[in-house]
Structures are given as structure tokens and as C-alpha cells.
Amino acid sequence: MSFWKKIALFLSVMGPGIITANIDNDASGITTYSVAGARFGYSLLWTLIPTTIALVVIQEMVGRMGVITGKGLSDLIRENYGVKTTFFMMLGLLIANFGNTVANFAGLAASMEILGFTKYIMVPLGAITIWILVTKGSYRVVEFILLYACIIFVGYIISGVMAKPDWNTVVKQTFLPKLQWNSEYIMMSIAIIGTTITPWMQFYLQSSIAEKGITKEHYKASRLDVVIGCSITDIISFFIIVTCGTLLFPYGIRINEASEAALALRPLAGDYASLIFAISLANASLLGAIIVPLATAYYICEAMGWERGVNKTFKDAPQFMWIYTLTIALASLLVLIPGAPLVFLMVLSAVINGLLLPFVLVFAIFLINNKKLMGEFTNSKMYNYIAWGTVVAVICLTISWVVTSIF
């Protein structure tokens, strides 16, 4: 195959992996990286290397299942593990993703306030726009916007470069880290993995690959899409940590939220860096707010066998439309109510996510080794060792993350 033919082939299957990985950097992800950079400087950069590897290993398996079976993950779980398992899993996913959506609307509200707009107008406006875009617009428009909105994430790279870090130190700290042995440091490194590898993105990736109708002849190109996507996510994370690590860490500025990072950057790095940070946060939050509710409604209806589709009406697909609409409406409302238990909700969401992840990953490994489904595309023995190792490590870390976020 000629070089150009290969490029054309890649462009035709490109999308799912890159979009999934970028939406992974939603409001809660950006918060975690900003806080990590401000609190520990460059010393947590190394965690991105194992995180990327784990992400690639897991996403590759899920993507492969999408290509070979042509079905979504919730579909496969329902067909192979029955209605009970699926039902409770979907219930967990619904609650966890509701929390995710709240976090994203909260991120949108905070970034809008920084940019000088009142959240009481911008959040409802954002919610209504998202709802109309998806239900009334065509999905092609949405996918187009999503793919190009990912480019805004380059903003983080620009602000990272503008911060003028000492690249020598950055590289050294990334590959030869000085580990710290205090509980806060360990918790933070676990949080980075926990926020990067989430249950919903496994469902999202597999469905979008299956939907795109990528066949096994094009599996290699699809794998490249997944690997590139995972790498981009972590490159963005890298620059967020670098920015905060360069500008905030030396002054001992502690932050708890991504929006605080944008504010704290203003006196130190000027309006531009602050603006870029705020706009990128708004963009990430909006992307998350579009995809997470839509994806949730989709998997639940797929698993339960209810009519689904963005071009359906409330009459044709009541469950789908109600889940989608209520998630957006309630989440945006909650953000606007003063004194609403947002923190509690986000912790709850993190806990449920953490509890779901082991099941999702273990099911994924069992399914990918199912000869009846995967034929010759099951994991090789070696790959299984790597996969199980990764999964067990991720599970242990997530569970300890859950435990620490409760107490």
C-alpha cells in the first residue's frame, strides 16, 4: 500500500479514539492536573507515563472489541452477562455520569465568571444550546464541532510554552522523578490515574468505533487512532501540569479548582495565559456536557433494548429523550442553586466511578478473550499478562482513591 493510500485510510477511520481521549480531559481532569501542578510542581509529571501506557492498553482492547464485534460494550455485557448485571451497572453509570455532568457545568460556570459573564445566563444558555444542537441538529454537525473543538486544547500547550519553564528540569523530573512519600503526594498521583481512566469512556469508545462501521481490515488504522488519542490526552495533561508547576508552584499558591488556576495566573503570567486557561476550561466543560449525558442515555437504552437516537422524538424514544434531557436540565439547575451539595455529588460520582471501573475492565478482559465473539482477535498470552497486570494495578489504585476520597 502506498504512503498516501495509508494516510487516506487513516483519515477515514480517524475520530473515535481522538475524540474520546480528548473528552477525557473534562472539567474534573483539568482540575486534577492544575491542582497537581500547583501543589507539587513537576514532581508528578512522571505519573503520566504509566497512565498513558495503562490507557493505551485498555483503550486498545475496547477499541478492538468495537471493530471485531461491531457492537457496543453495554450491548456485549447484556448479551453475555444477563439483565441483572447490566441493570445495576447502568444504574451506577447513570449516577456517576450525572455527577460528571454536574462537574462539567460547574466548570462552565466558573470559567464564564472569569471571562466576565454571569453564570446565571451562561449556564442555562449553554444547556439549551447543547440540547438543541444534539436533538435538532444533525449528528454530523456535532461530530464536526467535537473534532475541531479538540484543537482548542492546543491552548494549554501554548500557555505551557508561554510560561517559559526550564525544560531541562521538566524533562529530568519526568523521567527521573524524585518521589515523595507523604500521603498527599500519593493521593494526588492516584487521582491522576483515576480521573484519566473512567468507565464511561470505555463504553463511549467502543460504541463510536462500532458505529463508524470500521471493519477488521482497517483495525490497524483504528488502533493508531486510539494510540494517538491517548497520547494527545496526556500531552495536554503534561502541559497543564507544566504551566501550573512553573507559574504557581514556586510562589506556593495552592488551588482547589481549575478556575482558581486561571485566576491565579493573571498577576503572574498576564491576561493572555489566564484567558487561554479559562477558554480551554470552558471548552472542555462544554464538550463533556455534550457527550457525557448523550453517551449515558445511549448505553442505557442500548443495553435495555429501548428505542434510541438523537433524531427521535419523546414519543418514539421516551426513555432516551428523558434520560438525556433530565441529566442536562437537573445538572445545570444544581450548579445555579446556591448551597447545592455539589462537592458531595462529585465525590459520590468519583466513588461510583471507582467502584464500576473494576467490573467494566474485568468484563472487558473476559469478553475480549471470548473466542466466540472475537475469533482470532482474542488477546495473545503475553498481551493478557500485560492487560491483567494493568487492570489489577488500576483497580487497586482506584479503590484506594475511592477510600481516600470518602475519608
Binding site: 444477563g82 441483572k84 460504541s207 458505529e211 463508524k212 471493519t215 428505542e307 466466540k372
Partner: protein, 420 residues
């Protein structure tokens, strides 16, 4: 073994199966299904005891109902059973899977299966695709009903009779009846396309292969280009050629243009020569131009033809042509000089000649006209079809309004499906 009444499979799963002395042989794990007349029936029970699996033939059963399942035989005499892919077993192969409801023309998921006694056999009478089935599986059917009663409502049964089911798995297709096949053929091609676009590509292809040539051709043109290509590529050339031949040449050309070169060539070679030439001619035009949209089947007569003769000829010719609303008037050398609408033809004096009644100020386009321009002309002059001529005025084909609309507003199944 007599079995009367009816029950849902979820109600008996994991229930103990007893021997004549009332001792437990094991727990019910699954049911083996075989083809029966008129409906598929249960041929044996699969029983699990201490991680070992046994097969209990239906004829060895004594009692089979919601409360008690008991056998005539003792546990020691049972045949060990090994799960295999040859047998069709209910829980593994039917429950939780997607199927096509041929009556409602949509894809649904099997939440439960209903069995009914018929001639002392247990036959598969219906599948439950509703919320009630899910609740029954979760063990809260009663609770759900009580909850609905609070709102003075009834929890509806959502059952689909086995007669209306079209399975997606090839294995299941073997035991299904001939009835649903016919039902599927009666569905509108757009509905079939919608069904195919909702299931995985493997299932879609196997469902498609089961269609008869005529239905398949109709459904294929409603599908998204990449799905079309995937399905045709996966088929034997002979069968693919039969289907392509059945399609109108413009749509056939669209399908072939998305295929890999050698496959398209192979198919073209298996198609009847005349048809293949039509398609080949269309293939030479860009897809988004008048040439790509046009169809080279039309009705054209000479100017001196009398109206009554034209009507006679029309009766004979119109059967094979898709768009028949205009009769084009061409000179002997195929140069387009006018058109007569079907309405004018029928209302005209039978002895008049076409040249007397034809419209001569025709709107025409050339093959390289852009599709949007074609659409604008059709819209502006309220046309049903627009002739395509070459620079010297020779009639090459016509663009029909439905092909233009399909380009501007693709039907649901042709649009990219969900892709969240």
C-alpha cells in the same frame, strides 16, 4: 408429558428439577430448542448440578409448570451434556439478544421468552420486549405493578408473537418459520435499511443475505454508502450481481463506485451486458453532478408519433422505466426537441401528433452541472424530472426529483447513524 397453560422462561430458570422420589436432580440451566410445527419447541432441559451439566429429554418429564418440574427418571441415568455451538439453546442464544420485530419494523431486545403448551409440547409462543420482562428478570414484577397501581395505571405486557420475529443470528434463522421471511419482504425498503443500520455490521449482513433479490435491491439503495460497500464486498459475486442488476442503473452505479475496483469490475462482468453498459456510462460521471445523478432509462418517441400510438407504446415501455412522467420527443438521431407531460398526453386528441402538443422550451442541463444547480432548476420550474443533454443537444438521461431530494435531504438510514 402434558404441559398446559403458559409460563415465562425467567420464572423457571434456576428452579430445582426433581426425580420421582422428590429429590433434586439439579437446577434448570437452559432449554434446548428445535424446529417444530407450527412453532419452535423445547426438546430437552439442560440441568446443572455441582458444576456438571446434564441433558434431560422432554419425553422424560413428568410435570412441567411454574411451580414444579419433575422427571420420570433418576439423576444417575441422565446423559452428561457438553455445551456446543450446534444446538440452539434458549438462554444462551435467544435471551438478551437483539431481534427484529417484523410487525413494528424495528430492532428490539429479548427480555424474556413465553412458552405455551400445545399438543403436550412446550412451544415458543412469544418474546417479551417490554419493561415488564426486565422487572420479571430483576424479580420486581409484582412491585412494579403495585407501584403503577398507585398511579391508577397498568403495567403493560409488551409481547411479540414468535410469528412476527425475524432473528439476526443465522443459527436462529434455521428454526424460524417461513412466515416472517415473507413479512420482512413486505416491509418498506426504508424500514429494512433502518433495521440494518441499527445492528452490528455482521448481523446486518446476515439479515441482508436472507432477503430475496428484489427486497435486497430496494433496501440496498436506502443504505449509507459505506454500509452498502461493506455488505456487497462480503457477498459472493454472483448474488451481488443479481442484486445490483435489480437496482435502477443510477443507484447501481452509486453502489459500484464505492466498491474496490476489482470487485466492481467482477460484478459488472457478471451483469447482463446491456444493463452493465448503462451502469458503466453513469460511472464515468462525477457523483455530485447531473451526470452522476441521472438515470439513462427514459421514455422517448419520435415527433411524428400519434398520441394514441404513443399511449399504446407507453403501456408497453413504462413497466421497465423508473420515472415516466414526461415523454421526451427526440429526432431520429436522438436529439431532444421537446417533451410531453403524461397528463397532456392522456388529455390530448388521440389523432394529434406529439410534435403538435409538445413543449419545446425545455430546461436542460449538461452532465457536468453541479447537483445544487440541478436542484435549483427543478425547484424553480416545479419539475418532476430534468433532461440531461450533451453540448450538441443529444439526450443522455434524466435526473428525477427523488434522486435530487435524496442528495439534499438523505433518508434517515443513509445519514450517519447515531455515533455519539
Amino acid at each position: 408429558m402434558p404441559f398446559f397453560g403458559e409460563l415465562f422462561v425467567s420464572e423457571i430458570l434456576k428452579k430445582p428439577v426433581l426425580d420421582p422420589k422428590g429429590e433434586e436432580i439439579g437446577k434448570l440451566k437452559d432449554l434446548v430448542i428445535v424446529k417444530g410445527e407450527p412453532l419452535p419447541k423445547v426438546s430437552a432441559l439442560i440441568i446443572e448440578k455441582k458444576n456438571k451439566i446434564f441433558k434431560l429429554p422432554w419425553t422424560d418429564l413428568n410435570i412441567f409448570n411454574k411451580r414444579i418440574i419433575s422427571a420420570n427418571v433418576y439423576g444417575e441415568t441422565l446423559q452428561p451434556y457438553e455445551l456446543n455451538e450446534k444446538d440452539l439453546i434458549l438462554v444462551r442464544d435467544i435471551l438478551d439478544k437483539q431481534i427484529v420485530d417484523a410487525n413494528g419494523a424495528k430492532v428490539v431486545r429479548v427480555n424474556d421468552v413465553k412458552l405455551q403448551g400445545y399438543n403436550s409440547e412446550a412451544v415458543l409462543i412469544a418474546v417479551d420486549v417490554g419493561a415488564r420482562g426486565i422487572m420479571r428478570r430483576l424479580g420486581v414484577e409484582r412491585g412494579g405493578e403495585d407501584l403503577m397501581k398507585l398511579f391508577k395505571k397498568h403495567l403493560p405486557y409488551n409481547l411479540i408473537s414468535w410469528n412476527y420475529i425475524q432473528p439476526l443470528e443465522p443459527k436462529l434463522t434455521k428454526i424460524s418459520l417461513t412466515v416472517p421471511r415473507q413479512m420482512v419482504s413486505e416491509l418498506h425498503p426504508a424500514d429494512i435499511a433502518e433495521i440494518i443500520s441499527q445492528v452490528s455490521h455482521k448481523e446486518g449482513a446476515s439479515f441482508f443475505k436472507g432477503l430475496d433479490v428484489e427486497t435486497a435491491a430496494g433496501a440496498l439503495s436506502e443504505l449509507q454508502p459505506d454500509v452498502q460497500a461493506a455488505i456487497i464486498t462480503g457477498m459472493e459475486t454472483e448474488k451481488a450481481a443479481d442484486i445490483i442488476e435489480e437496482m435502477p442503473p443510477d443507484e447501481a452505479a452509486d453502489v459500484l463506485s464505492d466498491l474496490p475496483m476489482d470487485k466492481a469490475k467482477e460484478i459488472l462482468e457478471s451483469i447482463e451486458k446491456e444493463e452493465a453498459e448503462d451502469i458503466q456510462e453513469l460511472l464515468s460521471h462525477e457523483e455530485d453532478t447531473a451526470g452522476g445523478l441521472m438515470i439513462n432509462e427514459f421514455i422517448a418517441y419520435l415527433p411524428e408519433t400519434k398520441v394514441k400510438d404513443a399511449i399504446m407504446k407507453f403501456r408497453r415501455d413504462a413497466g421497465e422505466v423508473e420515472t415516466v412522467y414526461y415523454i421526451y420527443v427526440i429526432e431520429a438521431n436522438e436529439k431532444l426537441i421537446g417533451a410531453v407531460s403524461l397528463r397532456d398526453l392522456l388529455l390530448a386528441d388521440p389523432d394529434a401528433r406529439l410534435t403538435d402538443i409538445m413543449e419545446t422550451k425545455l430546461k436542460t442541463v449538461t452532465p457536468d452541472t453541479d447537483e445544487m444547480e440541478v436542484a435549483e432548476i427543478i425547484s424553480k420550474y416545479n419539475l418532476v424530472a430534468l433532461p440531461v443533454v450533451d453540448t450538441e443537444g443529444f439526450l443522455l438521461g434524466i435526473v428525477a426529483i427523488d434522486d435530487v431530494i435524496d442528495r439534499i435531504l438523505p433518508p434517515a438510514a443513509k445519514r450517519k447513524r447515531r455515533k455519539v
